[in-house]
């Protein structure tokens, strides 16, 4: 069995945390990696102080892209939007916790790209 697919990754891939879109939501953003078809759609609720109060997402794609999203979105609730804005690629990769080749790094970072775009207010669909 490949190191990449250790238990934590497969657990998050099989049972993604916060699965399902929120309605209503304050933020909604969707993006894909056109080369391979990985896709993630994220919705957030944010209170008046800019604190994330609820998270919901759905997507499809490879195990790495979906597990990374679940891992990243798992503990957003209670954090300020600024936390999302300041997250770095390194932090996300650390959380995924396995060595990734450049192609797979793109898979893992799609979730971060979507989160940041959402946090910076690129609301695509409105509430």
């Amino acid at each position: 069995m490949d190191d990449l697919y250790r238990e934590l990754i497969m657990d998050h891939y099989r049972s993604p945390r916060h699965a399902g879109l929120l309605a209503p939501h304050d933020i909604s953003y969707e993006d894909e990696n056109p080369l391979c078809g990985d896709r993630i759609h994220l919705t957030l609720r944010v209170d008046a102080e800019g604190i994330i109060t609820a998270v919901g997402w759905e997507g499809d794609g490879c195990a790495i892209s979906q597990a990374a999203a679940s891992l990243l979105y798992e503990d957003l609730v209670g954090r300020p939007l600024d936390y999302a804005k300041n997250l770095t690629a390194e932090e996300v990769l650390e959380r995924v916790g396995v060595a990734l080749s450049p192609v797979r790094v793109k898979c893992a970072l799609l979730s971060l790209k979507v989160l940041k775009a959402g946090a910076y207010g690129l609301d695509q669909n409105g509430t």
């Binding site: 490949d2 697919y5 080369l35 391979c36």
Partner: protein, 408 residues
Amino acid sequence: MFDAAIRDDFPTLSREVKPGVPLIYLDSAATSQKPNAVIDAMTDYYRRYNSNVHRGIHTLSEEATAGYEGARLKIARFINAPSEAEVIFTRHTTEAINLVAWTWGLENLGPGAVLLSTQMEHHANLVPWQMLAARTGATLRYVPVTPDGMLDQEAYTRLLNEENVRLVAFSHMSNVLGSIQPVKAMVAAAHAAGAVVLVDGAQGVPHLPVDVQALDADFYAFSAHKMLGPTGIGVLYGKRALLEAMPPFMGGGDMIKKVTLEGTTYNELPWKFEAGTPAIAEAIGLGAAVDYLEGLGMQAVHAHEQAITSYALERLAEVPFVEIVGPPTAEQRGGVAAMLVDGVHPHDVSQLLDGYGIAIRAGKHCAHPIHDVLEIQPTARASFYIYTVPEEIDALVEGLYKVKDFFG
């Protein structure tokens, strides 16, 4: 099928991906492995007679020129070009196609003209025409694909008749579906409609006997790296009359006859289209690749691929969770099997197979539109060449079961 001893000619094939895990290379449609004869021809050039070509009056330069131009002759013979003047060295298929777009295309197209590509093309035979259409105001249309992955010939005929088609561009063999087009008939139909034809032969020349005169294509493009040759070189074959009427593509050394500050007279074919120091070592390597393929015989190469592809289609048909895109039997197709693995993303298929030493390719294979058209997901593509043996297909099937097991 070829004797498995052929594998001894390819040093990479005896490699282990990690200790104890030998390489099973099923990614030849992306790039082929290289036999020692090709590697050695280039090393010999660099170690013994490396020199710039054409204008040098010294031993090394004469030897290098003989090697470079000798390679051109070999290639002309290999594809049965009427003359070596019609064999232009480019960097790859992609550059060959772009060359035609930037020269013939800019010169001959404008609003009202129609360019015909197809839904199954590799981006190399699609994006240049999109760019050209945008620049000239010409219209780009696409020949549709049937559900089993062939070009829709009825629609093709209709498009040729209904539209002011000036150029038709399609691939000899699709790198996703594996389907081989009836090139000769399609060229004849296009000519009857007054159109010029470019064939993307990136997956043609490596796998099939190609006779450009019999096919009657106006332009035919291919890459060395997919036919046992090195990276960094490809070929544009073009009919002399067209090439002579075209303006040059790049300006620089070697493509000129005479330069003054006021203006320039261009060189004869093929050098008119070869500005700058050529890819000398690469041409010599490609020449050695052609020698190797001719040694095997292209009919035998094709027969080997037919046999190995039939075997692969048969074995994969037994795997209940795998679906193959493209034509169902080997006759209409080359050595490519793009697979949809139920419940497992191709990235994961490819990554897990790599753990067993099996190299395949995952994704949309530089041909996004065909995926939209056929409404299919990215695929896990296994592809075969002269050194592929049935045991490797068996290993692939076994590997796929393990992948499926793991993902449950």
